[in-house]
């Protein structure tokens, strides 16, 4: 009876209701199925489940407005399972802890994926419109709250991770794969979990570790070793990040190592006794220097520290170099030392400092500083060039010539008094050209082109004029001999170089008396030259010429003597006399006495070149001396070159003179600069004029403020400028 009653009720037709309410028991039943499935999934027992059925059930719950029940049920069930998992993890002993955590994390992830598959419809519809956390994110959050942040796991996890890293730092092997998985888990839970639960502590512990370690190292290592160790530590940390940490941690951990191992010990490292930066520089330790550069570059103020020490060392050694009295004796050696020093540092900057511009600038400014400490640097550099262009470049390839010239130009750039260099250069070039000593015309011209690009047309126009004169003279001589060939017969050969006044460094000199046959020839040339060029004046620079003489000595030894014009005049006198006193020679030739002394000295006192004999025998020339042809003169060579005794370097008075001429030449340049500036500015105060003039002229020389002031005064006197009537410091330009 009972059963039939129930059956009856089953068939009962219910009254129509406006609202269709689905049986809450239906919802409970469906949820039980799903809950059971979730448990089975967590128990690795999912193979017996029907995906389609579970999906349909979850769909139905959402469809019939039980989304909230489904969602809260999910939260509850998952929380329970995670708490179970947390207990198992907590129970894991020692080393197994991380492995258990990793295993459970993998299990949870897999389960979460499957749960999300079942609840996909809820994830897509119910969750966004009710602003709930999506299933996947919810699963991560619950794992974080119930496992990672459980009181018995949180600190244990952190301590375990830090301990493993510490072990690895002290050389033990750890399971990096496991580390990577655990760290990856923290990152998956969100960057804040990774940062708060791991990274923050990791950085603190690392800072302590490296602070202590760097203290140990610095006490017992030399600078090079310390840097090697620091570099290794830095690379280890970078590798650690790439192996198992978040790549965003790299800058943070390297900052820690940099700060503790480098920044804190920077000065001590650089100045370390016997192994610091200066020693590395002296010994060309490219590897150590490179390491220092690369490490210091990473910390604030690192490179300036290296640069400052290098600069002060460079200035100090440079200063010693240019003021070394030994070095000053040989200008070529002096310049070669500068070049060597430059090469040395160029190489260091290239190999160790990755061609850093700021280091190159420091190098340049240091050179500029000490080269100009010695006022003779311009002269020496010109002498170096002279030496190279006279003989030094023989057998050297064109490229190497260029290299040497480029290096010289580099030194030239450092000079403040470029006009002084120009003066000397002109003198030396003139000598080279006139004596035909220059080895390579190409090299000469190449250097002039370089000077031109460096200093402008004005600087080299006269030098170029000298070359033009040489060329024109050749043509002139050809013309002369073509016109007078018949007439001249077997008279001596005359080669005249016509030098344009102003282009050449001529000294006012008195023409000496030439031998009769020569002066006749000279006259012929003069009339030929003036006949073709009207309105010109020729004056003979007998102090600059050379002559080749054929001489026959006592026992018939024939020699060809290569001598200066002065020497030629002297020797020619002995064609008609056996003995001549100093006075007689002086009267006959009218050679200035200082030149005459030098010329006689070289004819009579130099061993192996003494074509004359002197009484009394001595090294110096006295006014009472008498001279004879040295009949016993012998030489291995047919051609004998008799030099003139000249100091290669300038003598003190000559130096004074050159200096004075330089100063004189500067005056018009300073005045021109003042006028140019005032013409455009109209009114300017004293300090600004000084500044602008200095700036305009600095490519040629460093103008002396006192001299500028004098020039201003001179211009005021000549009514180019006037002082302002109210403000005496102001100058006005008068048109």
């Amino acid at each position: 009876m009972n059963s039939s009653n129930q059956k009856k009720r089953n068939f009962q037709i219910e009254a129509f209701k406006h609202k269709v309410v689905v049986d809450p028991k239906y919802a409970d039943k469906t949820w039980k199925i799903l809950e059971h499935a979730i448990t089975e999934i967590y128990n690795h027992n999912a193979s017996g489940l029907s995906f389609e059925e579970l999906y349909r059930n979850a769909y139905n719950m959402v469809l019939h407005k039980f989304g909230e029940k489904l969602y809260s049920g999910l939260v509850g069930t998952m929380t329970l399972h995670l708490q179970e998992m947390a207990k198992t993890i907590e129970a894991a002993q020692g080393n197994l802890f991380l492995e258990e955590l990793n295993r459970k994390w993998n299990d949870h992830n897999k389960a979460l994926q499957m749960i999300r598959d079942i609840l996909m419809y809820m994830d897509r519809t119910f969750i966004p419109s009710n602003r709930k956390t999506p299933v996947h994110e919810l699963g991560l959050n619950l794992w974080r709250d119930n496992v990672i942040h459980s009181s018995k796991i949180q600190t244990r996890l952190l301590d375990t991770l830090l301990e493993l890293i510490q072990k690895e730092r002290t050389g033990e092997i750890i399971n990096r794969g496991l580390m990577r998985n655990i760290i990856k888990m923290l990152m998956d839970l969100g960057s804040s979990v990774y940062q708060e639960d791991f990274e923050k502590h990791f950085l603190e512990v690392s800072a302590d570790f490296y602070r202590a370690e760097s203290q140990d190292f610095i006490e017992c290592c030399d600078c090079g070793d310390y840097l090697k160790k620091a570099e290794r530590r830095l690379n280890e940390e970078i590798e650690r990040v790439s192996l198992y940490l978040d790549s965003k941690s790299e800058t943070k951990i390297t900052n820690v190592v940099e700060k503790e191992m480098i920044a804190s010990h920077m000065l001590r490292l650089v100045h370390m006794d016997n192994s610091g930066l200066v020693n590395m520089l002296i010994d060309d330790k490219y590897e150590d220097l490179g390491r220092m550069y690369n490490l210091f570059r990473r910390v604030p103020n690192g490179l300036p520290t290296i640069r400052d020490v290098m600069t002060s060392h460079l200035r100090e050694t440079g200063k010693q170099l240019v003021t070394d009295a030994e070095k000053l004796k040989d200008p070529v050696e002096f310049v070669q030392c500068l070049l060597n020093e430059k090469d040395k540092y160029d190489k260091i900057i290239n190999l160790a400092f990755s061609n850093d511009k700021t280091f190159q600038n420091a190098l340049n400014s240091s050179f500029e500083y000490f080269i100009n400490l010695n006022p003779r640097s311009p002269e020496f550099i010109s002498l170096f060039v002279d030496e190279k262009l006279r003989k030094g470049l023989k057998g050297v390839s064109e490229e190497d010539v260029e290299t040497i010239l480029d290096k010289v130009m580099m030194l030239f750039r450092y000079l403040q008094e470029k006009d002084v260099f120009e003066k000397y250069y002109k003198q030396h070039l003139a000598k080279r050209l006139l004596s035909g000593k220059t080895v390579s015309d190409d090299a000469e011209r190449s250097l002039i082109v370089k000077l031109k690009t460096e200093c402008g047309y004005q600087f080299t126009s006269k030098l170029e004029g000298m070359f033009t004169d040489m060329k024109t003279s050749q043509d002139t001589m050809q013309g002369f001999y073509a016109a007078y060939a018949a007439e001249l017969g077997d008279s001596p050969t005359l080669v005249v170089q016509v030098l344009t006044t102003g282009s050449w460094p001529t000294q006012p000199s008195i023409t000496c008396n030439l031998p009769a046959e020569m002066s006749a020839l000279c006259e012929k040339f003069r009339s030929y030259y003036l006949g073709t060029h009207t309105g010109r004046r020729l004056s003979w620079q007998t102090n600059m010429g050379t002559a080749d003489l054929k001489a026959i000595f006592g026992k018939g030894q024939k020699h060809e003597l290569n001598v200066s014009t002065y020497q030629m005049c002297v020797l020619m006198l002995f064609n008609s006399a056996d003995r001549l006193s100093y006075k007689e020679i002086e009267q006959a030739t009218e050679i200035p006495s200082s030149d005459l002394r030098r010329c006689l000295q070289s004819l009579a006192c130099v061993k192996g070149k003494n074509v004359l004999r002197k009484e009394p025998m001595s090294k110096d020339i006295g006014e009472e001396d008498a001279f004879f042809v040295n009949d016993k003169f012998t030489s291995k060579f047919y051609k004998v070159k008799i030099g003139t005794v000249v100091a290669q370097k300038e003598s003190e008075p000559e130096k004074q003179e050159t200096r004075q001429r330089v100063e004189e030449d500067r005056k018009p340049q300073i005045e021109a600069a003042i006028v140019r500036i005032m013409k455009s500015r109209r009114v300017l105060d004293h300090n600004n004029i000084i500044a602008e003039v200095t700036k305009q002229l600095q490519s040629r020389f460093l103008a002396n403020p006192g001299e500028i002031k004098k020039r201003i005064e001179s211009l005021i006197e000549r009514d180019f400028l006037e002082r302002d009537s109210s403000d005496r410091r102001l100058y006005r330009y008068l048109a």
Partner: protein
């Protein structure tokens, strides 16, 4: 053997379907098929001959399976679109249906897809296309929301005050701006859920640390989550307010400079390349037109134009304006649908009107609607009475015209989610224009 393994058999509501795993893979991992055949569920192993039962309607399954096979959607006329959507949602492939339904937007290939009769009592003020193909229509004090399936969602209102503008922040959120009701704090601006119509928060205007009631006008949004609105308060709160879309907090306010109009602006347009906001206040809201670019960083107006003081004729009267960042110019339109241009790189001079023939002049409808402009991927759209013109090219030549005889003048239109929505003023109806999917060959 390989073919055998690839084969999958479904029993859907009693009907057998044979298909391949590769076809099902087109559904993606986030679908029922993707989950079902994931290795976790251990379904594909070995039993390639067993069928998988799904308790759903087989007819719609057939349509959807065909969609997965071909990428195209074909629904027989005797089947319901709504039911198809429901089934697609069940399988998790609703997005596939949406993207197969219409093609990428091209103003010259548009076809009228549907007309929807609205349910609002008054005239429409604005229609706004949503990012995924839905739209919202503002009528009086109500905003009706339609998703891309053109299903109506619960309507939105802000204290039942008259709505001035509306806009989509994302497919789930709509902002509406409304008139204030003095003394009550009603009106202003609010952010609503598009699916439930629930209000998330209201945007406030503070002046000297006091919250003021205000009327919010035109709206604009920037990609860095800022929201701009013209604001008209009771005293000093005239100008453009800036809020954070995420937090709803006011972050800036550009006060209206004397002699200029910002608080009652008809149109705001954020220019991301210039980091400036275009603000246009136009006739008939004001006697004169004011168009300017605002730079909020230094509160300056780097570019501005106004017709104050110029002799005004109907031909010269600007009815709408739009900035075109690519050509650094501002396009304006008069009531005869003549386009005019101004250079944004030079301080504003005069409008260079293009001399298009005035086809419209002289045959005005009884209830004219003034032109509105829109820009979409290099195409310029201009509505005029009952048609929309499409312009393109360096000289903005007319390339197409969309017209429909039913519904009267177009009072507003909007482009978004690869659709164009046009709202008519006489009949309570709006049209949806779509680009058909490309031809088969």
């Amino acid at each position: 053997m390989g073919i055998q393994k690839d084969r999958v058999r479904f029993n859907v509501g009693g009907k057998i379907f044979d298909t391949s795993a590769t076809t099902l893979a087109n559904a993606g991992r986030n679908s029922l098929f993707g989950a079902m055949f994931d290795e976790n569920w251990d379904l594909q192993s070995g039993h390639s001959t067993t069928e998988h039962f799904i308790d759903r309607n087989p007819d719609y399954f057939a349509v959807l399976l065909d969609l997965l096979r071909t990428g195209e959607l074909y629904l027989p006329s005797n089947m319901s679109e709504k039911q198809l959507y429901r089934e697609a949602l069940f399988y998790g492939i609703l997005d596939h249906v949406r993207s197969a339904k219409w093609g990428p937007f091209d103003g010259n290939r548009l076809r009228l897809a549907r007309s929807v009769t609205g349910r609002a009592p008054g005239d429409g003020t604005a229609i706004r296309a949503g990012p995924d193909g839905g739209c919202c229509v503002a009528h009086g004090s109500m905003v009706h929301v339609y998703d891309w399936m053109l299903e109506v969602h619960p309507p939105i209102n802000l204290d039942y005050q008259r709505v001035n503008d509306a806009g989509w922040i994302d497919p789930e959120s709509i902002v509406i701006s409304a008139c204030e009701r003095f003394g009550t704090g009603d009106g202003g601006m609010g952010l609503f859920s598009a699916s439930t119509g629930e209000r998330r928060y209201k945007f406030h205007v503070s002046h000297e640390n006091q919250v003021k009631s205000y009327t919010a006008g035109a709206l604009s949004f920037s990609p860095d989550y800022k929201l701009f609105s013209s604001c008209k308060g009771r005293s000093n709160e005239y100008g453009i307010g800036v809020w954070d879309q995420v937090t709803g907090k006011q972050i800036d306010f550009f006060y209206e400079p004397p002699g200029w109009s910002l608080g009652e602006a008809d149109k705001l347009q954020w220019l991301h390349g210039n980091n400036c906001l275009l603000v246009a206040t136009l006739f008939p809201r004001k006697d004169n037109c004011y168009i300017g670019l605002l730079d909020f960083r230094d509160k300056s107006m780097p570019w501005s134009w106004s017709d104050v003081g110029a002799p005004i004729t109907d031909e010269k009267r600007v009815r709408d304006a739009i900035a075109m960042e690519e050509s650094s110019s501002v396009c304006v339109v008069n009531e005869y649908e003549d386009l005019g241009f101004m250079d944004l790189r030079r301080a504003a001079g005069s409008v260079r009107w293009s001399s298009r023939s005035r086809l419209m002049k002289g045959k005005m409808p009884d209830e004219p609607c003034y032109p509105k402009l829109a820009l979409h991927e290099g195409q310029l759209f201009s509505s005029m009475n009952d048609s929309i013109s499409v312009f393109r090219g360096p000289d903005w030549v007319l390339t197409s015209r969309l017209r429909r005889t039913y519904g009267g003048s177009i009072c507003d239109f909007s482009i978004g989610g690869d659709r164009l929505f046009a709202l008519h003023s006489e009949e309570n109806v709006f049209d949806i224009w779509e680009t058909p999917s490309p031809p088969i060959i």
